[in-house]
């Protein structure tokens, strides 16, 4: 009798638990976070994880998406590129997330992409990249080449610069970007002789690589700086740098020691934002140019509120491994933030979490006024957004020099610029 009763009780309890779980599942939605939290990329990507958690908390506090609270599923591929495919599979097939926010390097995106395409998932990608890609399963909140590299070149041309030295770290993003820039400069009437760093041609005479490249972790920039100094002796030269994080300090230290300054030969760096600045010799970088779709120094009510809210969240959060002191915000972080809100807007417009419906809403054009200004989704899966050019200051922030509002994100640029005869 007793056993029967206890059995009944336990069955009842089980049913109750199942009911509660079902009820909870009904008002939550799972969202994937696919960022490296260990390994080489952890330095950069942990910040993105933090901003995503902040955004989810902010949205949940206001009632969630379609009345459902966001539950993040965080996975760590550990900076090993093939693991990105594996973890994507887990997110899509086991956890069945509605959407995933993730990836930093282009190679990690390329690794995850086939899985997202096969399982029809949706990946939001927030970091500036080389273009030449337009997957129906990726929402590129990142800067396309024409939203970062080209406005900066335009700025230099307007400043009366006639010679351009291209230098970068030897991997896909700098190589592709520099090829596009070469075409762009030629189309602006800059002669090939005025584009420094050299170029390589293939058998048919087509230029296949433009600019000077150094490997990851290169330390000795003496020779290259001597070359730049000679190149810049005519006083109308500038440097376009796609050097990767830890090669920047040796480059800029050598640059300063050789007597080059932002006055004589300015450098625009596409991979230095506020977050990277923390480990760079600020004094040697003063006056150099950055170009992003967000700067922390933007003076707008949205940005002021965003910064204050993020700092307040940092103080109170109980999430594991969040560094609370000396935090800054930069473009990839804000584009992650914008991405979550755009997804929310698309879901609400579609009235459903279904990937196809959300994608259709994205293509129809959805806007969100974020910390960096208004962003609008485009049919080609990219974003229209405001591009800013800033000058670095000694405190690691940027003074905004120029604003290009509503720049349409255009991923396919190779071959679109025709050289002037």
């Amino acid at each position: 009798m007793i056993t029967k009763f206890s059995k009944l009780l336990s069955v009842g309890a089980l049913a109750l638990v199942a009911l509660v779980a079902a009820a909870r599942a009904a008002d939550t939605v799972k969202v994937g976070v696919l960022h490296d939290l260990s390994g080489t990329m952890a330095i950069s990507e942990t910040s993105l994880r933090d901003i995503l958690l902040f955004t989810f908390d902010e949205i949940n506090a206001k009632g969630g998406v379609l009345g459902k609270k966001i539950v993040p599923v965080i996975v760590d591929p550990g900076s090993v590129w093939p693991i990105f495919a594996e973890k994507s599979k887990q997110l899509l097939e086991v956890d069945k997330v509605a959407v995933t926010f993730g990836c930093w390097t282009s190679v990690s995106r390329k690794s995850a992409l086939p899985v997202f395409e096969k399982d029809n998932g949706l990946l939001f990608y927030p970091v500036q990249y080389e273009g030449e890609e337009e997957s129906q399963n990726v929402c590129y909140t990142a800067e396309a080449v024409n939203q970062q590299a080209i406005p900066a070149v335009d700025y230099f041309i307007a400043q009366g610069k006639k010679k351009f030295y291209l230098i970068g770290t030897d991997y896909v993003y700098p190589q592709t970007t520099n090829l596009v820039l070469l075409e762009y400069l030629l189309s602006k009437g800059v002669p090939l002789a005025n584009i420094g760093g050299g170029y390589k041609k293939d058998g048919s005479g087509k230029i296949i690589s433009a600019g000077k490249y150094t490997p990851f972790g290169h330390k000795d920039y003496q020779q290259i700086i001597a070359e730049i100094k000679d190149f810049a002796s005519s006083g109308d030269a500038c440097v376009i740098s796609t050097l990767n994080g830890d090669t920047n300090p040796p480059f800029f230290k050598e640059y300063a020691a050789a007597g080059l300054t932002a006055d004589t030969c300015p450098v625009v760096s596409y991979s230095i934002a506020e977050d990277e600045f923390r480990s760079l010799p600020a004094k040697d970088l003063v006056g150099q140019i950055g170009c992003w779709t967000y700067f922390q120094s933007i003076d707008s009510p949205e940005n002021t509120k965003f910064l204050a809210d993020f700092q307040a969240w940092l103080k109170t959060t109980t999430a594991d491994g969040v560094v609370k002191e000396g935090r800054v915000v930069d473009s990839p972080m804000v584009l992650s933030y914008d991405g979550v809100y755009l997804w929310k807007a698309c879901v609400e417009k579609a009235g459903s979490f279904d990937v196809d419906k959300v994608r259709a809403a994205w293509k129809s054009g959805v806007s969100f006024v974020g910390p960096g200004g208004k962003v609008t989704t485009q049919p080609n899966m990219h974003l229209t957004k405001t591009v800013y050019i800033g000058e670095s200051k000694a405190d690691g922030q940027f003074k905004i020099l120029k604003t290009f509002p509503d720049v349409y994100g255009e991923p396919h640029l190779k071959g679109t610029f025709k050289a002037k005869e």
Binding site: I43, N194, K212, D220, Q223, D230, S234, K253, R278, S279
Partner: protein, 578 residues
């Protein structure tokens, strides 16, 4: 209505009066730039205005730039004082509720005051705006462009001369020639000559062009290459052989000069790159070369030196606090809050700090791990590799995984330019630093009692032990010395690149390569091999114009060399090779 008609007339008369008055004053004492501008503002005739503005050419007064900027941005107004005098003012700052702004007198740069001596605030709409047209703006720009020519700062003058030269505008010629008469700085004099010649290049007369080209040929300055080349192309299509020949001669002169500069530049860069290698590898030449310990944690000794520099810098500045991992001891280092030169000396202070801290870590490592493994080189390789990983994680836990930044002190972040070859101070410093360390090590090994003991223990431990030498202690001190030298390298490399937990890994391969090529056990061999590798690397980079290919070729050459001479350049007998 009548007033409207009369106002310009009145203004005109007044302006002329003031102008005349100003002229009279000018005769008495040199007129200030501001007073001249006031005269220009109050003059009504446009041609006269331009003439007055042009009279400012050649002056270096910064006030000119300020006032002209305000003028071009429509911030200048004429205020009619109660007495009827016309006072040009600049309205600055934000408008308050009544729309008034602070007013600054153009003639003095001081705030405008009323009779009672109180600053006056004015409303823009109630004043007469000072107008400007395209002609005036051009005249003003011309003056501002030439402003820096008279600047007391040589760097500014130099830049101004260059800018004017490259613009090739003939109207700037008189100003440059006037300046050339006054200039005393030899470098700027040369630049003036070049700028004048460059402007002559744009002259329509071929004779002037050829003369200018001859001048540029004599100056053979790299910066004029592009303009000469452009001229040459134009002359070729225009069919002017004389100009083409002169241009070619000038271009050849510049190219010759460039190749000489490149040669000496590369030589210097090779020496400095070799010195960096030497500084980095010298410690290993002792621990691996003399003692025969395959020390994979050598790179981490360099990191210790680098972080010691970082800490020293912070102690000289604002101070810092960090927590030691595992034992959770929070260390707070108060800052000395130094500024200026006293602060810049942190780098000098970091040298002994870096040496001692790395030496201490090295001694601890020797006592705890290496002393048990002297007879087992492969196990010492594995053990020190493990130590290296542990140390990297400790750095990460203590200082964070982000790289930290060490500033370059002023005395290391500039350069000397001799005949266009740039000698960076940090590079000159590393050559000297390497020389001093090598000399110091040589002294320590050959002229001190400890050096004698080190040499005899390394040559024959058993015999030394029999003679009563405390070989254990000598081992410990030798390892400490080698580690300390690595620490010194760490202090220096903060001036070249990043300081981070895994920075040591970047140097370990280079260090072993240098020591092995030089010949294990021979300090002199390490010196020769470091300088040789540095020179070869930089020359190949210069020739191939590719930093990666150069390095690959050097590595290939080293592999081939070691096939031919496995013992390196200078083979030495040491205990490890017995």
């Amino acid at each position: 209505m009548v007033w409207k008609l009369f106002r310009p007339l009145l203004l005109c008369t007044l302006g002329v009066c003031v102008g005349l008055l100003a002229n009279v004053r000018a005769m008495a004492a040199p007129e200030t730039a501001r007073a001249t501008i006031v005269r220009a503002i109050l003059t009504t005739d446009d041609a006269q205005k331009r003439a007055i503005i042009n009279s400012l050419i050649g002056q270096g007064d910064e006030a000119i730039r300020e006032v002209f900027t305000a003028w071009r941005q429509d911030n200048l107004y004429v205020y009619s004082a109660p007495g009827g005098a016309k006072v040009p003012v600049e309205l600055t700052g934000d408008k308050d509720a009544a729309g008034t702004q602070a007013a600054v007198r153009v003639d003095t740069g001081e705030p405008l005051k009323d009779a009672a001596g109180q600053p006056l605030r004015l409303v823009a709409k109630q004043l007469t705006a000072v107008e400007h047209d395209a002609g005036l703006r051009r005249a003003m720009k011309n003056v501002v462009d030439l402003l820096d020519l008279g600047s007391p700062l040589p760097a500014k003058r130099l830049r101004a001369v260059q800018t004017i030269g490259f613009a090739q505008k003939a109207d700037k010629l008189p100003a440059l020639e006037a300046r050339a008469g006054l200039e005393t700085d030899t470098e700027i004099k040369k630049e003036l000559k070049e700028a004048i010649a460059l402007i002559h290049l744009a002259d329509s007369d071929d004779g002037v062009k050829i003369k200018a080209l001859a001048e540029l040929q004599e100056l053979h300055n790299s910066s004029s290459y592009d303009l000469i080349n452009a001229l040459k192309v134009k002359a070729e299509t225009g069919g002017k052989p004389a100009v083409v020949a002169a241009a070619n001669a000038a271009l050849v002169a510049i190219e010759n000069h460039r190749s000489v500069v490149k040669f000496f530049g590369t030589l210097f860069r090779g020496l400095s790159a070799g010195s960096v290698l030497l500084v980095v590898a010298l410690g290993l030449a002792i621990t691996f070369g003399l003692m025969g310990v395959i020390n994979m944690a050598h790179g981490e000794m360099i990191t210790v030196g680098a972080y010691a520099t970082y800490i020293t810098q912070n102690v000289f500045g604002e101070g810092m606090h960090f927590t030691l991992p595992f034992i959770k001891v929070a260390i707070h280092l108060p800052g000395l809050h130094l500024t200026g030169w006293a602060y810049q000396l942190y780098f000098v202070a970091a040298i002994p700090v870096g040496f001692l801290s790395a030496a201490l870590v090295g001694i601890a490592l020797e006592r705890s791990v290496i002393r048990f493994l002297y007879r087992r080189p492969l196990e010492s390789l594995l053990a020190t590799f493990g130590v290296s990983l542990i140390l990297q994680q400790l750095f990460k836990l203590t200082f964070g995984s982000n790289n930290v930044n060490v500033d370059s002190p002023v005395y290391l972040s500039s350069n000397w330019t001799v005949f266009d070859v740039t000698f960076d101070w940090n590079r000159v410093f590393v050559i000297g630093f390497a020389a001093v360390i090598v000399f110091g090590v040589w002294l320590a090994l050959t002229k001190t009692p400890l050096g004698l003991l080190i040499r005899c223990v390394m040559q024959n431990r058993m015999m030394a032990s029999c003679m009563g030498v405390r070989t254990e202690r000598v081992n410990m001190l030798t390892f400490g010395l080698g580690s300390g030298l690595a620490g010194l390298a760490g202090v220096f490399v903060t001036q070249l690149g990043t300081v981070g937990p895994s920075m040591g890994q970047e140097y370990i391969v280079d260090s072993f390569m240098t020591v092995v090529v030089g010949g294990v056990g021979s300090i002199f061999g390490t010196v020769v091999s470091a300088l040789g590798i540095g020179l070869a690397d930089q020359s190949l980079q210069q020739i191939l114009l590719n930093p990666v290919l150069g390095k690959i070729l050097v590595l290939l050459a080293i592999i081939l060399f070691l096939q031919w001479r496995p013992t390196g350049l200078f083979a030495a007998r040491s205990r490890s090779l017995d």
